[in-house]
């Protein structure tokens, strides 16, 4: 778990993905190959603005063990302003969330491996309106 998380820290701490310079499509999580251009892919790293819009969401009432204290919480499908759609926890009261809501990235704790374990941080979203 630890090495796997460490390798992805850059992409979790911020919205760092990739962009294909051949067709202009951008990807998050990052891709090494553009599915549109395939062999003609011209991939470069890019940082997303962190602003987007909720296109769908669900309220989680049956949470996994380490997220139980946070329930009910919102998991949303968010369309970033650069195009990619990602799934993320949206830190928002369940009664206030709606599709079309403008959101922005936020740096938060994902969880920790018990009392003595490592703390995992990453990107979540919060309302931006």
């Amino acid at each position: 778990m630890l090495p796997r998380f460490w390798r992805k820290i850059k992409y979790r701490y911020d919205l760092v993905g990739t962009k294909c310079k051949n067709c202009g499509n951008s990807y998050y999580p990052p891709r090494n190959l553009c599915p549109v251009c395939r062999r003609k892919s011209d991939i470069a790293e890019m940082k997303f603005s962190g602003r987007g819009e909720v296109i769908s969401y669900s309220v989680v009432h049956e949470a996994p063990e380490d997220l139980k204290a946070q329930k009910p919480y919102v998991v949303a499908l968010i369309k970033l302003e650069e195009g990619p759609v990602i799934t993320s926890q949206l830190v928002c009261d369940p009664e206030n969330v709606r599709t079309g809501m403008r959101v922005k990235k936020a740096f938060r704790k994902y969880g920790e491996e018990g009392e003595a374990g490592i703390i995992y941080y990453g990107t979540k979203f919060v309302p931006d309106e």
Binding site: Y13, D14, K68, A69, F107, K124
Partner: protein, 345 residues
């Protein structure tokens, strides 16, 4: 010219009223609020800690000037509630901001003045030409033991300052420290809550250090209270900074804009730096600010800061007072859960 290039702040959105805490312990909320000068305090949620507060404040500071973050050559995070005892918060901030790997970094600890200590480091390094930009952050999610008087004030928040020599919005004209070995407040390894010397925290600790540092810097710079438009003192409660200001000849008008403790509580390492940010939100070119932090143990850092013309071009929204106002109230039960005072398996 060395000084502040940009600044950013973060205040968690939850609030608990002193009255609600008093209800649990059978005290009179009104009497407590008036006695401490604290109406309510900020509370972090379960997925917020000193590292997340530091990152959010730092991101706001950097976004306002849109500099290339790899030009930041130093990151110092001052806190008494670093998430790890061993493992720095500064590296988490560096990674989240995309600073790269070439930067000086350390976590600092000096009770509530570790953030201003980081600012001194950055100012000195920028002056020596060792760094182009440095990031000094003061952030805390401080805890008071349930039922302890500290429970009414210990809160969460932070501020980040980008220090450098180009496009300075507020010049640091002078800085001094007044330091002594005074055991007014402490926490030993493995102890969840701090201990304090009760009334001892007042005269020999807070007032001695704050007023000595302020007198020292005014003497050395030849400035009087009337030369400052604003003064910001460390704010463990609403009463101490008001009394210190009076002792030094400052009016309540001079401290009002930076006095945020009544509405968010004592954010420890974030306290005087959040107060300074609230002042920078409205300060005009050439106006002077006196900043005096205080850290138990004990010491005070003093700064004379003067706004430049460049401050008018800096994006200063959202303002600290807007963030203070946008809170959501919780009751004592939720507060216990958010502060992990009840164990969730």
């Amino acid at each position: 010219m060395i000084g502040i290039v940009s600044y950013g702040t973060y205040i968690p959105r939850y609030r608990i009223k002193a009255e609600e805490i008093a209800r649990i312990w059978g005290e009179d909320g009104d009497v407590i609020s008036r006695g401490l000068g604290i109406i309510q305090k900020s509370v972090p949620s379960l997925d917020e800690d000193t590292a997340t507060i530091a990152v959010e404040a730092a991101r706001e500071a950097v976004q306002r000037v849109k500099i290339d973050t790899t030009k930041i050559g130093a990151v110092y995070v001052g806190s008494e509630s670093h998430p790890y005892v061993v493992k720095p918060t500064a590296t988490i901030v560096g990674e989240a901001l995309g600073i790269g790997n070439e930067y000086f970094a350390a976590d600092l600890e000096f009770a509530c003045k570790a953030g201003t200590a980081g600012m001194q480091n950055c100012i000195a390094m920028a002056k020596a030409g060792v760094i182009e930009y440095g990031l000094a952050i003061g952030a805390d999610t401080s805890q008071g033991a349930p039922g302890d008087p500290l429970e009414y004030s210990a809160s969460a928040g932070g501020a980040a300052y980008l220090i450098g020599s180009k496009d300075v919005i507020a010049e640091v004209e002078a800085m001094y420290s007044f330091t002594s070995d005074t055991p007014d407040f402490w926490r030993k390894e493995g102890q969840p809550y701090p201990s304090h010397g009760g009334r001892f925290t007042g005269t020999p600790a807070y007032f001695r250090h704050v007023t000595s540092a302020a007198k020292l810097i005014m003497e050395r710079t030849g400035l009087n209270a009337s030369d400052f438009k604003y003064a910001v003192f460390h704010q463990p409660n609403g009463k101490f900074p008001a009394r210190a200001a009076k002792m030094l000849g400052f009016s309540s008008e001079q401290i009002k804009q930076g006095l945020i403790v009544p509405y968010i509580g004592n954010t420890y390492s974030g306290s005087s730096l959040l107060g300074l940010a609230a002042v920078l939100d409205v300060v005009k070119p050439d106006e002077r600010i006196l900043l005096i932090s205080f850290g138990s143990g004990a010491g005070s850092d003093a700064f004379v800061i003067r706004a430049t013309k460049a401050i008018e071009d800096l994006e200063r929204n959202p303002k600290v007072w807007d963030k203070i106002k946008g809170g959501v109230y919780i009751d004592y039960g939720l507060y216990l859960k958010f502060r992990r005072k009840i164990k969730v398996r």
